[in-house]
């Protein structure tokens, strides 16, 4: 016999779909089928059932082999490492729930750590731009119900957020958008003819690295000023057309992704895109939203912000919080040799950082907390496997539009496995003793 769990929240990307149905065995120990999820989400749920899963902490030995240890020993090792370090880095936090993040922050505060999430290599530059110029945005339901102008700039939801277009942005029929896709004009800006671009009414194949200039040019067009014949590979006439399409809508939105946050100009690309959005509000209603990657990177930013005042790259080393990407940001901390211990949870820097930074991690005392085997666990001294958040334990997560959704547990983790939060509580309590706090 089986039972079906409904309204399940998908712990893959920032779209945080919450309409999944998951079939589990009657005893709640096995997960057999997943409905409504994209292929990636489905794989995430199913992979939790892998037979070859690592289920106990492992410590790297002198000869390079792993030795299985208990969670208590793993907590002891982690607490000792953090308490001894002068400037430990606690990185990740994007593939876990807000409950675990909160406990992690208590530890970070006690040991004087730098705390950073995956925005560091994702939408960190967006946050810098937001700090410089603000962000007029909305929830995804507003897009579904009202938006008739949709721009995807430097993002490829067909690949990275597979259900975004069907749930929120292009296809759904909302309150004021009864004709679904026909109610909307879709513009894609990307140097490649992506699978998203192929669906667009207009594709601007921008010269790679010149988004800032192109965004600026659209604003110049809004002001009816002179433009060079071609900007970023796009003819001026085309730029003016796009400006007119945007102006003529009733409710527009710019979605943007790594194509602009990781490209030359970085925060400035976003800054100018936000300036363009603000500018368009002189003509009609316009919003802008980052396509956040990890399902709870947004939540990490929220919790960090209400607890410490900054959304990522927070340096607590001096007993108070400081923030300045370029100084307190993970990539720079590693590249500059600023930290002396590396703690990773809910992310895989080993796979997603430039190799020079990964080499730095490999040199440091390091702990990696991750349900998977990853390049990070592969270069860390201690690997602590934990329950899959959003599958084997619930907890709060924030969608890309900052809407919090409480995730559901659908199946038990393998016997004896801890969750992120449970493991962190062990570490916290031990650090408290080591630091002599009451």
């Amino acid at each position: 016999m089986t039972k079906t769990v409904t309204d399940v929240v998908c712990p893959f990307c920032g779209t945080l779909c919450d309409d999944l149905e998951v079939v589990v065995s009657d005893d709640g120990k096995q997960l057999t089928e997943v409905y409504n999820a994209c292929v990636i989400g489905t794989e995430k749920f199913l992979h939790s059932q892998a037979k070859d899963r690592v289920t106990r902490p492992r410590l790297r030995q002198e000869d390079g082999s792993w030795k299985e240890i208990s969670y208590d020993d793993a907590a002891e090792y982690t607490a000792q490492m953090l308490a001894k370090a002068k400037k430990p880095l606690m990185y990740g936090w994007s593939s876990t729930n807000c409950e675990a993040q909160s406990v992690g922050h208590e530890i970070a505060e006690m040991v004087g750590a730098c705390v950073d999430n995956t925005a560091a290599v994702c939408h960190g530059t967006t946050l810098i731009a937001v700090q410089d110029i603000g962000i007029p945005s909305c929830t995804l339901g507003e897009i579904k119900n009202r938006a008739d102008r949709i721009l995807f700039w430097g993002c490829n939801p067909a690949h990275a957020h597979p259900r975004h277009m069907s749930r929120y942005s292009i296809y759904p029929r909302g309150f004021f958008t009864g004709k679904g896709q026909k109610s909307r004009k879709m513009i894609v800006v990307d140097p490649r003819v992506t699978d998203t671009a192929k669906l667009a009414d207009v594709h601007l194949q921008v010269e790679q690295g010149r988004d800032y200039e192109l965004l600026n040019a659209i604003r110049v067009a809004l002001n009816n000023e002179w433009l060079p014949d071609v900007v970023a590979g796009i003819p001026a006439q085309k730029i003016r057309e796009v400006a007119d399409i945007c102006k003529s809508g009733r409710f527009g939105i710019i979605f943007f992704g790594m194509g602009v946050t990781q490209t030359l100009s970085k925060n400035h690309n976003i800054d100018e895109a936000i300036a363009l959005t603000k500018h368009l509000n002189e003509f009609t209603k316009f919003s802008i939203m980052p396509m956040r990657g990890h399902y709870n990177v947004t939540g990490s930013g929220e919790v960090l912000a209400w607890q410490f005042g900054f959304p990522y790259s927070v340096d607590l080393s001096r007993g108070f919080a400081r923030y300045n990407p370029g100084d307190t940001s993970t990539i720079d901390l590693l590249a500059r040799g600023e930290v002396d211990a590396m703690f990773t949870l809910g992310s895989d820097p080993g796979a997603h950082f430039p190799i020079s930074c990964v080499k730095q991690i490999a040199k440091l005392p390091s702990v990696c907390i991750d349900p998977h085997q990853t390049p990070t666990s592969g270069v860390s001294k201690l690997h602590v496997p934990v329950a899959f958040c959003g599958v084997e334990v619930g907890g709060n997560a924030y969608r890309m539009d900052n809407v919090p959704i409480d995730m559901r547990k659908v199946v038990d983790p393998p016997a004896g496995m801890l969750t992120d939060e449970e493991f962190l509580i062990k570490v916290r309590d031990r650090v408290k003793q080591l630091k002599g706090a009451a």
């Binding site: 409904t6 309204d7 919450d18 309409d19 409950e99 909160s102 505060e109 006690m110 946050l127 937001v130 700090q131 410089d132 110029i133 603000g134 962000i135 007029p136 945005s137 909305c138 929830t139 995804l140 339901g141 507003e142 579904k144 119900n145 009202r146 749930r167 929120y168 909302g174 309150f175 004021f176 009733r250 409710f251 603000k278 509000n281 209603k285 919003s287 930013g301 929220e302 912000a305 209400w306 607890q307 410490f308 005042g309 900054f310 959304p311 001096r318 007993g319 108070f320 919080a321 400081r322 923030y323 709060n396 924030y398 900052n402 809407v403 919090p404 959704i405 409480d406 706090a437 009451a438």
Partner: protein, 571 residues
């Protein structure tokens, strides 16, 4: 739990009519008890020559939730060089106009505040609001979900369906663990979804075929149908614009003829918030002037209304409101960074930094209006002090506002310091006002009054035996003349002792305990209403971006220590 007896202080408790008499206050098991009910082990606090009051109550502040947090996220400069380090169990705390949650709890406590209401909770984000409330130590908190631009409310009220509106309100209060019915720019924020606004109570709301006046009256009726502890809590249309006092009077007049129906001892049917922002004359920024008198004349004679002030504190701050169109208007004026969040089917919010400079005439006039409102109030128990934190200034400036209210000399010094002193005097009434708020009136404005307005008067805001032991001792002697008004500010900035539910949380102005905070919410029962349940289901299926099953704020993570106030409107 420890017992205390606070001896020989000058007690100010409007609830019991105590006006500074020397009396002892005893605390046992988290409650106030008669002074013969504590044992000999009770710890004695010597309050001789000091002022003793109940814990103060914040009736309107933006301290938790998505717009507060976007403020934190997008203003790193608000934290620069302002942090207090971690100390033992007391967490590190930072931020000026938008402090971190820890700092929020600590700063309120240090000033003697023990209860606070988050003024605008977007229902879809209630889980976020509650996570922040959980992380705000010491103070009891509730949150007001916003209803004034809600699609359900507008559709029901278009047909004058009060019972359905009430059933929906009760459902939403339960789903969001909310405390009261809040309206922000009714209808205007929905219009903002199309870049428009409703500037008068009679402007039609685009598409919904309803006016702000109809929304306001309908929600008053629903509120009294349910018999909620608080009345509707309204931020009216046309905030911040010259000449808006007429819109404010039009809004207030909508309450005429309604009578409060509840079991909580509340008398008003409408609470008008941050009245300062709604008391403007003139028709442009050049002839901008105070209309505090016109507003207060009406408020003074109308018993079924309470107000709070929204005092401008002359600081750099961060404005934030569910009045989306207003924040857009503001960023067009000052060109500072603008955040906006439109929330599907429900509301919106905007955030813009603002500097209230004493060198700018309009800011100085705003400062005067806020103080005039309080100084003109005939009944101090219906006019409460707020800064609409952080909109008119950070709540941490309450001691300074108190100084200005209690000392004509302090006001005079500030008026003199304005760059455009003469023009400010000409556009306001402040210069001629010699009233000085007494400590008893202060206790009405910050304790007994807000407690009664919120329907919490049996629980807090007073020192009657049986009430929660929220007690403050200020190092301020009512006997001695105040040589320097700054003494007032100093005394109310850092209380000598603060007890929250019987736990000493502040000693000599320093936080010593993280307390045991509660989340207060209202559980209103109504008759089963299948139509409303069907409507809710349909809206979630068609228009919301989350499923109904994932909407409610539930469980230990969000509300670890709930305090539900039960209301039964099912009969």
């Amino acid at each position: 739990m420890a017992e205390y007896i606070i001896k020989n202080g000058h007690v100010f408790d409007p609830l019991q009519g105590i006006k500074g008499d020397k009396a002892d206050v005893a605390i046992k098991d988290g409650k106030i008890v008669k002074d013969n009910q504590v044992s000999s082990k009770a710890k004695t606090i010597d309050a001789k020559g000091k002022t003793v009051m109940a814990g103060a109550i914040e009736i309107h502040a933006h301290i938790a939730g998505p717009k507060v947090n976007i403020g934190r996220i997008y203003r790193p400069e608000d934290k620069l060089f302002t942090y207090t380090p971690k100390k033992g169990n007391i967490r590190m705390a930072g931020g000026t106009s938008i402090p971190t949650t820890f700092k929020t709890g600590y700063e309120y406590a240090k000033m003697g505040y023990t209860t606070a209401m988050e003024a605008a909770m977007p229902p879809l984000f209630s889980r976020h609001v509650h996570e922040e409330i959980r992380d705000t130590p010491i103070i009891d908190e509730g949150a007001f979900p916003v209803f004034g631009n809600n699609w359900f409310v507008m559709e029901y009220l278009k047909n004058n369906e009060i019972e359905n509106t009430s059933a929906y309100c009760a459902w939403l209060l339960r789903a969001t663990k909310g405390y009261a019915i809040k309206l922000v720019n009714p209808g205007g924020t929905e219009a903002w979804a199309w870049g428009l606004n409703c500037l008068s109570v009679n402007d039609p709301v685009p598409y919904f075929d309803i006016t702000p006046a109809e929304i306001i009256k309908g929600l008053i009726e629903a509120n009294e149908y349910l018999g909620l502890p608080h009345s509707i809590h309204i931020h009216p249309n046309n905030l911040g614009n010259p000449g808006n006092y007429t819109t404010t009077l039009d809004t207030l007049k909508l309450a005429e003829g309604y009578k409060a129906k509840n079991k909580f001892g509340r008398d008003q049917v409408m609470h008008l918030t941050h009245t300062q922002f709604h008391s403007y004359g003139g028709d442009n920024w050049a002839n901008f002037e105070s209309k505090s008198k016109e507003i207060m004349d009406y408020v003074n004679k109308t018993k079924n209304i309470t107000i709070d002030t929204g005092n401008v504190t002359l600081d750099e701050t961060t404005t934030m409101t569910a009045d989306g169109p207003f924040e857009h208007h503001l960023t067009e004026l000052n060109h500072l960074k603008w955040a906006n969040v439109d929330v599907e089917l429900e509301t919106a919010a905007g955030v813009v930094p603002y500097i209230y400079s004493p060198d700018i005439k309009v800011c100085a006039i705003q400062w005067a209006i806020g103080l005039e409102l309080a100084l003109m109030a005939k009944d101090a128990s219906r006019c409460f002090i707020t800064t609409d934190h952080p909109n008119a200034g950070p709540f941490t400036r309450y001691p300074r506002v108190i100084k200005w209210l209690m000392s004509a000399k302090a006001r005079e010094a500030q008026i003199k310091a304005f760059k455009n002193s003469d023009k400010v005097i000409a556009a306001t009434h402040i210069a001629g006002m010699d009233r000085e708020i007494s400590l008893y009136e202060l206790a009405q404005m910050t304790r007994a009054g807000p407690a009664k307005s919120l329907g919490l008067a049996s629980m807090c805001g007073g020192l009657k035996p049986g009430m929660d032991a929220d007690v403050v001792v200020y190092d301020f002697s009512p006997d001695k003349p105040v040589a320097n008004p700054d003494q007032i500010e100093a005394a109310f900035s850092r209380a000598a002792h603060v007890f929250k539910s019987g736990v000493e949380v502040v000693t000599n102005g320093e936080v010593v305990n993280n307390g045991n905070k509660r989340t207060i919410w209202v559980n209103a029962k109504v008759k089963e209403n299948p139509q409303v349940m069907r409507d809710i289901q349909e809206k979630f299926l068609k228009y919301y971006s989350v499923s109904q099953a994932n909407y409610e704020a539930l469980g230990h993570h969000f509300i670890p220590n709930p305090y539900a106030i039960e209301v039964d409107a099912s009969q």
